[in-house]
Assembly symmetry: C2
Homo-oligomer: 209 residues x 2
DNA sequence: TAGATTGTTAATCGATTAACAATC
DNA sequence: TAGATTGTTAATCGATTAACAATC
């Protein structure tokens, strides 16, 4: 099976979001042309993207919204549950723990960790903040799918090695650094400062024209 | 002047980060070849990217780290101050307000807004949380460069229109929706749920191989 | 059936990589 | 000067768009 390009994957969650909205609006079917207008992408791209995974539509009819929504959900593994641990219980860690929609999609936060005694023991959305010293032991005794790293880069690098040693395969990295880990460990980076710099560049350009 | 491609812009902050690290390590010069090894990109791409903005290097020598760092900073507008207002003083809003490094780069949070009486009046990093009802008046009387939207999508859409009406040209959008705004308003999206879905897809692929 | 719209191939466009002459 | 490394042009690769036959 030829692997799917990164560009395609990165568009799937957006399709999923729009289809969810269409579903909520009670719309049963949609053509690539109509969806293209809503999403401001070409109809060609929508059809090409979807056909990487199979023929979800029907000639002369279009796509069944509910069916396509479910299918994209399956592709994105949203039909399975994912246990998640958050390391770093500062505002960012707590923001993620509190975000209800993740749980709706099967992402279940089952523990937070921190080294700060002031937050250890605190309950965030029914989940206790545990002492980081117990992390290794915890990981060895619980099946964890995803670890979110919401702590400063100095600590993130070291903790990431521990995670890999404990067999963690998926890391959601908010620390401002690139983790250098083995190939079979997936890292998804959220670099907020880089996002903000892009914004600074782009609005600077607008001002000068 | 031909405009620079999005792909190039999105790589600049990462170059900037690596150059900052090199500076801290006390390294004075670096060749595209050496930088390419550190960053895991091709030397060709580095040279192509940089030459969109001018010749920053010198044949036979490479690039002066400190000089290149400053030049990329200028391109990204980091040599200017940017006043920022955060709307939504929940955990995510507070996380951003608290992030010290932004201030180092010239991004100054000068107000937070919320509609929740329990947080209004609270001081976050020397900045007061104000009542959202006073937003329009505030924007009309203060020069604000960037507004961060860290609130639910239902509210974000409405607030975004207010922002545009008040002349805001740069929005850092954390709400899970695409804001439909005039062309001269720059929106930089941070869609955390889409990032998490990409991670779910990718580590699912690893498991199946 | 006729119209609509997909699935898919072919054409275009843009971005990345390779190569090398220029030059420090 | 000789070696190193850039700046830049040319070649390749991949992604997007256009076109249309297949088919519901």
């Amino acid at each position: 099976m030829k692997s799917i390009s990164k560009a395609v994957i990165s568009r799937l969650p957006r399709y999923y979001r729009y289809l969810g909205e269409l579903k909520e609006e009670g719309i049963e079917r949609i053509s690539s042309g109509d969806l293209s207008e809503r999403m401001h992408v070409t109809a060609s791209q929508i059809r090409q993207d979807l056909n990487n995974f199979g023929g979800f539509g029907q000639q002369g009819y279009g796509y069944n919204v509910s069916y396509l929504y479910d299918e994209i959900g399956k592709i994105l593994n949203l039909d399975k549950d994912h246990s998640m641990v958050i390391i770093g219980a500062g505002h960012l860690g707590q923001a993620i723990a509190n975000y209800a929609n993740f749980e709706k999609r099967g992402f279940k936060v089952i523990a937070l960790f921190d080294k700060n005694p002031e937050v250890i023991g605190k309950i965030v959305r029914n989940v206790e903040v545990l002492d980081i010293d117990g992390l290794e032991n915890y990981l060895n005794n619980n099946k964890i799918d995803i670890v979110a790293l919401t702590l400063p880069k100095e600590q993130a690098t070291k903790i990431a090695d521990t995670l890999v040693a404990c067999g963690i395969k998926a890391i959601w990295n908010f620390a401002h650094t690139d983790l250098e880990l083995p190939d079979d460990v997936i890292v998804e980076n959220v670099h907020l400062s880089e996002s903000l710099m892009k914004l600074a560049y782009n609005y600077g350009e607008i001002e000068n024209r």
